[in-house]
């Protein structure tokens, strides 16, 4: 082999490896260490005593809710607690992140993040299709930039892309429908969902202190406009609403964009998508990291999530920048981020027991914020706690319809400041779902607990606590609940009814209704 050819090959190989070379790809452990180092320094600087590391029982419940959207079964929690190896948390995280259930849970999260309007009645029917697409793509470990590109460039006729990278059956067509295919809605939705930029107010007028102008809003909207009859011209144009003024498509920041000579119906979205997911786009990677972080921790590194371009000072921009760079280096690996975040010390802190004023601690993630459960998390956890199968029944329409009804009723906007309404409380206390779950003769957990031979009241109460909280009752709790069951255990039926009372109490508790 001559020298020139050798160098030619080397160069090709180097380019192939490129910025996404395996060697450069950060590991979850290294990223978690980076997060720990940053936050530890911030705690020290603020003179804060962070909470203790949470115990295993707390962890196993938290990680199941966070990664797969439901509490662990009795068996899953028991296995984890019985495991005496030191790396069991990391191994559980890896196993859960690789599961189908994680893909499904995150499909719901990204659907809610990207298309929040699908949580309203008007667009609720788009939910299933979109989540199906997202779950398939997440399960196939599609990189984040590719997901977003597929979404933005979905064919406007709803047909599947011919390319090999398209998913099995579903398409993200709902993205266009959820914005009623209107350029202005698509522009606002796109900027908010993928860049963390709130352009909505710029739609109607310039605000005196806003960073984005009305002109910029409509320039973004123009990408979603259709080309003129000849398909020619340098860029797409759109008329600013309630005016006669035409503006041409232009992007909010560098890098510059290039138009092909001939414009097709979907050209504008393709050009915009290329700019959005470009490594040089200053917001794309950061927005993805920030939103995923807020999924696990309850609040973003930079708040508000929809205003990434603000210059508020009290945020963790340095950490966000570093994580965004790592995200880029990893080839937009979402699973890597999920593993890194949940491995970090901050994620594994207790939700009680830190020494400082609440606002400082929460800003600095010095304890785990108690999060409200989403409707999906609450529904699926109620299934699990009753001893029903933990997997979903997507092929049974009536089961899914029940789930949808429940999820709508218990919808929360943001888990970190979830507001429980009086009506939701009443539903949980007196409604059909919990009534059925506390039927001593029908719910598998209650039947098994009440009818198992040789179980005394203490063991029965412990079983119910463990099913609901993944922990045993404290001595004080055990005393009160066991005394209650014993007092009512005049007949087997009366005892079963008393156990159902205990179960009702646990299901209505704040401990059950939160991730903590």
């Amino acid at each position: 082999m001559n020298t020139a050819r050798f160098f030619g090959w080397s160069l090709a190989i180097l380019l192939l490896l490129g910025s996404r070379a395996q060697a450069d790809k950060p590991t979850a452990t290294a990223l978690a260490a980076q997060i720990d180092a940053y936050l530890t320094a911030r705690w020290k600087q603020a003179g804060l005593q962070p909470a203790e590391r949470c115990d295993d029982a707390t962890f196993v419940r938290r990680i199941y809710l966070g990664l797969v959207g439901r509490i662990p079964t009795i068996g899953e929690a028991r296995d984890f607690l019985a495991d005496t190896t030191t790396d069991k948390r990391e191994r559980l995280i890896d196993r859960l992140v690789a599961s189908n259930a994680h893909a499904r849970h995150m499909a719901t999260f990204w659907r809610r993040t990207w298309l929040p309007q699908t949580d309203t009645q008007t667009f609720a029917s788009l939910t299933d299709d979109f989540e199906q697409w997202a779950a398939e793509r997440l399960q196939a470990q599609a990189p984040y930039d590719q997901l977003v590109r597929e979404l933005l460039t979905v064919r406007s006729d709803g047909k599947r892309q011919a390319s090999a990278e398209a998913s099995g059956g579903a398409t993200p067509y709902s993205f266009l429908v959820a914005s009623e295919r209107k350029p202005e809605n698509l522009a606002a939705n796109t900027a908010r969902a993928f860049l963390g930029i709130n352009l909505d107010c710029a739609q109607c007028h310039d605000h005196p202190f806003a960073r984005w102008s009305r002109e910029q809003f409509w320039q973004t909207a123009a990408f979603f406009a259709l080309p003129d009859d000849h398909g020619s011209g340098a860029a797409l144009q759109i008329k600013i609403a309630e005016t006669e003024r035409l503006v041409s498509a232009a992007v909010l920041t560098t890098p510059a964009i290039h138009w092909p000579e001939q414009l097709q119906a979907d050209t504008g979205r393709a050009v915009l998508a290329k700019w959005i997911v470009s490594p040089e786009n200053p917001y794309f990677a950061k927005n993805g990291v920030n939103r995923l972080w807020s999924h696990y921790f309850g609040r973003g590194l930079v708040e508000p999530l929809d205003d990434l371009s603000s210059d508020a000072a009290d945020n963790h921009r340095a950490l966000l920048d570093a994580l965004a760079q790592a995200f880029l280096d990893s080839g937009y690996d979402l699973q890597l981020l999920s593993r890194a975040f949940t491995q970090s010390r901050a994620y594994q802190l207790a939700s009680v027991g830190s020494n400082q004023a609440a606002s400082d601690e929460q800003q600095l993630f010095a304890y785990f914020a108690t999060l409200g459960l989403s409707g999906e998390q609450l529904h699926d956890s109620l299934q699990v706690v009753g001893g029903f199968p933990a997997d979903r029944h997507d092929l049974q329409p009536e089961v899914m319809e029940e789930r949808r009804r429940f999820v709508t009723q218990f919808y929360v906007q943001r888990p970190a400041d979830a507001q429980r309404s009086i009506l939701q409380s009443l539903t949980l206390m007196n409604g059909r779902d919990v009534q059925e779950l506390t039927d001593a003769a029908a719910t598998p957990l209650l039947v098994a607990t009440a009818q198992a031979p040789f179980l005394d009241a203490r063991t029965q109460v412990e079983t119910l606590f463990f099913a609901a909280f993944s922990r045993k009752p404290t001595a004080e709790e055990a005393a009160a609940f066991v005394a209650y069951v014993d007092r009512h255990a005049t007949t087997p039926d009366a005892k079963a009814a008393a156990l159902a009372d205990v179960f009702w109490v646990l299901l209505n508790s704040t401990e059950f209704n939160t991730n903590h």
């Binding site: 309850g298 400041d417 206390m429 508790s509």
Partner: protein, 418 residues
């Protein structure tokens, strides 16, 4: 984002402290807010422009008050002119449904991390009756633009009980004006119920210890308030079937009409703030046909409410506000519709301590501009406060550890109305 909820530690320490919370003294004053969701075409209700191209086809009719002429489609309300005040010079800059709704319902423009409480929550906080088993703020048929509006930094205990909400049911009807699951299941005895609640209480106290969390506060507070509402006397407030058929007919057998009847029943029982929404005012096309229909619904319900309150001796203690997030363009668009218009619009007030029989302010002949006595949204909030005996300059501690006044400090109450 603001995680902390205000009122200091008191608001966060859960249900067991909530009874001891420092709320204002009980009061007999109440407010009923008739909310015209979507931006009502007030130029076709309270401030018509007959003879001008912007006027449209509606005619004006007289009220007993000189200079107070209103739409021909509000004939029953016209008879109440002497008791009503119309503000024709409202002006704001917010033309987006979401932002404008927040502005009108809180008196503050959305800014940063501050969670401004809704005016209903402020009233409940300042003059609500804390002995009451019913929530002091009830919202009926809420539309999506109002979702999430509630106690804000005052805490979740001031958020509304929201019934027949559109987020749960896109087309609620009068039959949805009930509170589901208000009584315990038949299989559960009263003793079992109180045993369950006692066991739960101890569990809750232990879980809340050492936790400062708005989520925990909200869960425990909702549970406590739900339990109180389950008492039979409280639950009876929602029993519209106990009202005479003829009266129900007069209110209108529709969601809004029956919602107004429910509002009277709640106010009668001491609830301090009830809002009833009438949706459908976003008339970008076919404005006149739609506004005519909506006016008929509004006229029957509003006028019957006034009659009913007066007959029961409640009108002097019940302030009624008829408001929207903005008005609509005086210029009629190509689809015979009107678009969003916050520059010049109207509102109506009646009852309570409001001096009726007055028109405040004036718009130009084309309706495009306020010509006399401009009134801002905060002015209206301050007026409401003064009519209820609430000091609009009173400060409450917010979630960003900065005191916030009940009404914007720049607000001037409309003194002619007081």
């Amino acid at each position: 984002m603001a995680i902390g909820l205000g009122g200091g530690a008191g608001a966060l320490s859960g249900w067991f402290n909530a009874l001891a919370d420092d709320v204002g003294k009980p009061s007999q004053q109440s407010v009923i807010l008739l909310w015209l969701a979507g931006g009502a075409s007030t130029i076709d209700l309270w401030d018509l422009k007959p003879g001008h191209a912007n006027g449209g086809p509606f005619r004006e009719i007289n009220t007993p008050v000189a200079g107070m002429r209103i739409s021909e489609h509000l004939p029953q309300l016209a008879a109440w002119g002497a008791d009503m005040a119309i503000v024709r010079s409202l002006t704001s800059k917010e033309g987006d449904h979401g932002r404008a709704t927040r502005f009108v319902k809180t008196g503050y423009l959305p800014q940063g991390a501050i969670h401004f409480p809704a005016i209903g929550s402020l009233v409940a906080h300042e003059i609500g009756n804390r002995e009451l088993d019913l929530p002091n703020y009830v919202s009926v048929a809420r539309s999506n633009n109002s979702l999430g509006l509630g106690g804000g930094f005052l805490g979740p205990q001031y958020s509304p009980l929201s019934i027949a909400e559109r987020a749960q049911n896109a087309t609620p009807s009068a039959t949805d004006l009930k509170v589901s699951n208000l009584s315990r299941p038949e299989k559960v005895s009263a003793t079992a119920q109180s045993d369950r609640l006692a066991l739960l209480h101890d569990l809750e106290v232990r879980f809340a210890a050492g936790r400062t969390s708005p989520v925990v506060a909200s869960l425990q507070d909702a549970h406590r308030r739900a339990t109180r509402m389950m008492k039979a006397e409280a639950a009876a407030a929602f029993d519209l079937d106990s009202e005479p058929d003829a009266l129900r007919d007069r209110y209108g057998r529709n969601l809004f009409g029956q919602g107004c009847l429910l509002a009277r029943r709640l106010v009668e029982r001491g609830v301090s703030f009830v809002e009833v929404s009438l949706d459908g005012w976003d008339t970008h096309d076919n404005n006149f046909e739609r506004v005519k229909g909506l006016s008929t619904t509004l006229d029957a319900a509003f006028a019957t409410l006034l009659t009913d309150l007066r007959q029961r001796g409640l009108l002097e203690s019940t302030l009624i506000l008829c408001l929207s997030e903005f008005g609509r363009t005086p210029k009629i668009n190509g689809g015979v519709g009107r678009d969003h218009w916050p520059s010049s619009w109207s509102a109506a007030l009646a009852g309570g301590k409001i001096r009726g029989g007055q028109v405040i302010g004036r718009t130009s002949a084309d309706g495009l501009a306020v010509k006399d006595r401009p009134v801002t949204v905060p002015d209206l909030i301050a007026t409401t406060c003064c009519a209820l005996g609430i000091d609009p300059k009173k400060q409450n501690m917010s979630n960003v550890a900065r005191p916030i006044r009940v009404a914007d400090p720049a607000a001037e109450p409309i003194k002619e109305l007081l």
